[in-house]
C-alpha cells in the first residue's frame, strides 16, 4: 500500500520517489560511526581466528589433524577450524560459524533495536512522520535497511575471512564434509551461498528487534532488550529439558548452514531454518506493524 497512496496527489509525484526514504535510510545507517564500528568488530573476528590458527600450526603440526569427517569441529572451537591450515577457504566457514551464535545477531540487535526507538528518543521520529513518511512506509524502510545490514555484516565477515584465508593459508580444491572433492571455484560458490543463508538466518532476530523497537521510546532499552532476548534464547537452546520448545527458537537451526558443505546437500534443516526465519519475520513484523501504526507518538 505504501506506493499506491502517493499517486492521488495533485502534483502527481512519481511512485519511485517513495524509495527516496530507503536511500536516505541506507545512507544514514551506513554513515554512522556505530555501524562502522560494529562492522569493524565483525571484520576483526576472522583476522583473529586466522592468525591464531596460523600461530598454532606454524610448527608444522596440523590443527587437530582434521580428517575428511572433521567438519563438526571435533568438540573444540567452531566448525571447520581444523581444515583451515589445509585450505584458507575454510576460514570463511569457520568465521561465519564463530560469529553466527553471538556477534552477528548482537550487531543486528543493536541496529534493529535502535531503528524506531532511536528515532523516537532523538525526537526525529515525529518529524519523519509529519514529513509525512507514513508509518507503514517508514517501518518497511526500516526493516529493509536492517535486512541490508544483515547482508552487509555477513559479507564483511565472509570477505575478510576469504582475504585472510588466502593470505595466510594455501588455497585450492577442497574436501566436503561427505568426503568428496570439489574445485576451488565451486567452493567459492558454496561460500557465497553459505553467506546468503547466514544472512537469511538473521531475518528472524531482525524482526524481533524491530518489534521491540516499536515498544519503547528509548533506543538503548530496545537494543539491550533485543540482545538480552538473544542471549536468553541461546541459553534455553542448550537446556535438554526444553527440547520440545527448541525447534521454535530462532537460533535452533542456525548452524545448519554447514549442511551446504555436504555432497549431496542435506536440505532438511536448512529448509526448517529458513521457514522458521520467515515465520518470525511474519509474526514479529505484523506485531511491529500493529503496534507502530496505532501508537501515540509523544516523544
Amino acid at each position: 500500500m505504501s506506493q499506491a497512496e502517493g499517486l492521488k496527489e495533485l502534483r502527481g509525484p512519481s511512485p519511485l520517489w517513495s524509495f527516496g526514504l530507503l536511500r536516505s535510510e541506507l545512507l544514514t545507517t551506513f554513515r554512522r560511526w556505530r555501524t562502522l564500528a560494529l562492522l569493524g568488530v565483525l571484520a576483526a573476528v576472522p583476522v583473529l581466528v586466522g592468525i591464531a590458527v596460523r600461530i598454532e600450526t606454524s610448527d608444522g603440526s596440523s590443527f587437530g589433524g582434521g580428517g575428511p569427517g572433521g567438519g563438526g569441529g571435533g568438540g573444540e572451537g567452531p566448525a571447520f577450524i581444523a581444515q583451515i591450515s589445509n585450505n584458507g577457504l575454510f576460514l570463511v566457514f569457520t568465521a561465519l560459524a564463530a560469529t553466527l551464535p553471538f556477534f552477528l545477531p548482537m550487531a543486528i540487535g543493536v541496529v534493529a533495536g535502535d531503528a524506531i526507538a532511536g528515532e523516537a528518543s532523538a525526537g526525529t521520529l515525529r518529524y519523519l512522520l509529519v514529513a509525512p513518511a507514513g508509518r507503514t512506509r517508514l517501518l518497511l524502510t526500516k526493516y529493509a535497511t536492517v535486512i541490508a545490514f544483515c547482508l552487509a555484516a555477513t559479507l564483511v565477515v565472509a570477505v575478510t575471512a576469504l582475504a585472510v584465508g588466502a593470505l595466510l593459508f594455501p588455497v585450492g580444491d577442497l574436501t566436503t564434509i561427505s568426503g568428496t572433492r570439489i574445485t576451488y571455484a565451486e567452493g567459492l560458490g558454496r561460500a557465497l551461498l553459505i553467506a546468503l543463508v547466514v544472512a537469511a538466518s538473521l531475518v528472524g532476530v531482525a524482526a524481533l528487534g524491530l518489534f521491540v523497537s516499536t515498544l519503547t521510546g528509548s533506543g538503548i532499552a530496545a537494543m539491550a532488550t533485543t540482545v538480552g532476548l538473544l542471549i536468553t534464547v541461546q541459553i534455553l537452546d542448550q537446556i535438554p529439558q526444553l527440547d520440545a520448545l527448541q525447534p521454535y527458537f530462532f537460533s535452533h537451526y542456525w548452524l545448519s548452514f554447514a549442511d551446504l558443505m555436504r555432497e549431496p546437500v542435506y536440505w532438511d534443516d536448512l529448509v526448517k531454518n529458513l521457514g522458521l526465519q520467515a515465520l518470525y519475520a511474519a509474526v514479529f513484523g505484523s506485531a511491529a506493524w500493529a503496534r507502530f501504526t496505532a501508537k501515540d507518538i509523544t516523544a
Binding site: 536516505s24 525526537g123 509529519v130 514529513a131
Partner: protein
C-alpha cells in the same frame, strides 16, 4: 469515530473544503485522555481562519502540544474530530501533511549529520517531494533561515538557536499552505526572535496560514491576527487579537510622589485593585470620565506628574479570562 460534519466524510469528496467553511484548522469536541486517565485536551472547538496568523496561547501543561500532535496525526484523539485543510486527521495525513510545515516541541536533528544532510533526509521522507529539486530547495530553505554558512557543519555542533533555525528550515522545504510553529523563538537571541517574526509576517503575506503556539504573550501580540487561549486542556477564548485585548479594560496609571494619598483618593472614587509601587499607582478605572478622577486627585492635594490609561495587553486579557497568572498548570 463519528463524522458530525455535514459534508460526506472520507473517500468520495476530495474537496471537502466547503463543509469546513474556509477554516484551515477546525476541531469539534476534540478530546484526548491519556492512558493514565489524565485529560490533556477537553472538548476543544478550535477554528483557525485561512490566511490568519493564529496565536495559540496557554501556560505550559495546558494541552497546546497535545492539540498540535493530534492535528498532525501523531496522536489519535480519544473523541471528537479534527480537520486540517478541510480533510480529516489523522485519516488524510498522507494528503494533508505535505502541505503543512511543522516545528513541534523544538527541533530534533541527527547530530551526526550536517545541517544540510538533516534537511535532505527530512525531505526524502516526504513521498511527494521531487528529488530532482531536493538540493535546491534545501539550499533555499537554509538560506531563508540564515544558516547557509553553517550548512556543512555537523548538527551536534549547532547552538540551540541554530538548531531552532534548522527546524524552521525543515518546515520551509516546500511551499506550504499551513505552518505549525510550536514555540518558534525558543532559544533565540533578540535579533533571532526579530528575524523569525519578520519571517512569519513574510510567510503570512504570501498567503500561508501560520499557527503559532507560544507562552510569550507579547510575541503573539506582535505578530498574530487571531489568538486562542487554553488553560487546563480547555479553550477559554478565541478570536481576533484586537477583540481579545479590547475585552479587557485598560489600567489607570498615576505617577505621583504622594502615592499613599493618591491610592486613598482612587479607592474613594471607586477604583478597584489599587496597587502602589514607589511613585506609581495603578488601578482598575471606575465607571465615568477619567478626567473627574484627575480632578479629585488634584483637589485632594496630590501632586500628579503623570496620569493616563494604559492600553490593555493580551496578558491583561489572559488574567481577566482565567483569573490567574501565567503559571504552569497544576
Amino acid at each position: 469515530m463519528g463524522e458530525p460534519s455535514a459534508t460526506e466524510p472520507g473517500q468520495g469528496s476530495a474537496e471537502g473544503v466547503e463543509g469546513a467553511e474556509d477554516a484551515v484548522i477546525a476541531t469539534r469536541a476534540l478530546t484526548k485522555r491519556y492512558r493514565g486517565g489524565q485529560l490533556a485536551v477537553d472538548g476543544l472547538d478550535l477554528t483557525v481562519p485561512a490566511g490568519s496568523v493564529f496565536g495559540f496561547l496557554g501556560p505550559n501543561g495546558s494541552g497546546k502540544t497535545t492539540t498540535i500532535r493530534m492535528l498532525m496525526g501523531l496522536i489519535e484523539p480519544t473523541s471528537g474530530t479534527a480537520r486540517v485543510l478541510g480533510r480529516p486527521m489523522p485519516r488524510a495525513a498522507r494528503a494533508v501533511l505535505p502541505q503543512v510545515g511543522a516545528l513541534i516541541e523544538g527541533p530534533a536533528l541527527y547530530g551526526f549529520l550536517s545541517g544540510r544532510d538533516n534537511l535532505l533526509r527530512y525531505d526524502a521522507a516526504d513521498p511527494t517531494a521531487d528529488p530532482r529539486t531536493r538540493r535546491d530547495r534545501v539550499a533555499a530553505a537554509l538560506d531563508r533561515v540564515g544558516l547557509a554558512a553553517a550548512a556543512g557543519k555537523k548538527a551536534k555542533a549547532y547552538s540551540l538557536g541554530m538548531k531552532q533555525r534548522l527546524g524552521l528550515a525543515a518546515a520551509l522545504l516546500q511551499p506550504r499552505r499551513l505552518l505549525v510553529l510550536d514555540e518558534p523563538t525558543n532559544g533565540l537571541d533578540p535579533q533571532g526572535m526579530r528575524e523569525i517574526r519578520a519571517l512569519v509576517r513574510e510567510l503570512a503575506s504570501d498567503g500561508t496560514t501560520v499557527f503559532l503556539s507560544s507562552h510569550l504573550l507579547d510575541e503573539i501580540e506582535q505578530v498574530c491576527t487571531h489568538a486562542a487561549v487554553m488553560a487546563h486542556g480547555r479553550l477559554i477564548t478565541q478570536g481576533a487579537v484586537a477583540d481579545l485585548a479590547a475585552g479587557a479594560r485598560g489600567r489607570l496609571v498615576v505617577t505621583t510622589p504622594d502615592a499613599g494619598e493618591a491610592a486613598r483618593v482612587l479607592k474613594e472614587q471607586g477604583a478597584g485593585d489599587v496597587v502602589v509601587a514607589e511613585d506609581r499607582v495603578t488601578a482598575e478605572p471606575p465607571e465615568g470620565d477619567p478626567a473627574d478622577l484627575n480632578a479629585a486627585l488634584v483637589a485632594a492635594g496630590v501632586r500628579v506628574r503623570g496620569f493616563g490609561v494604559e492600553r490593555a495587553s493580551l496578558e491583561d486579557a489572559f488574567v481577566a479570562l482565567t483569573g490567574e497568572g501565567f503559571d504552569v498548570a497544576g
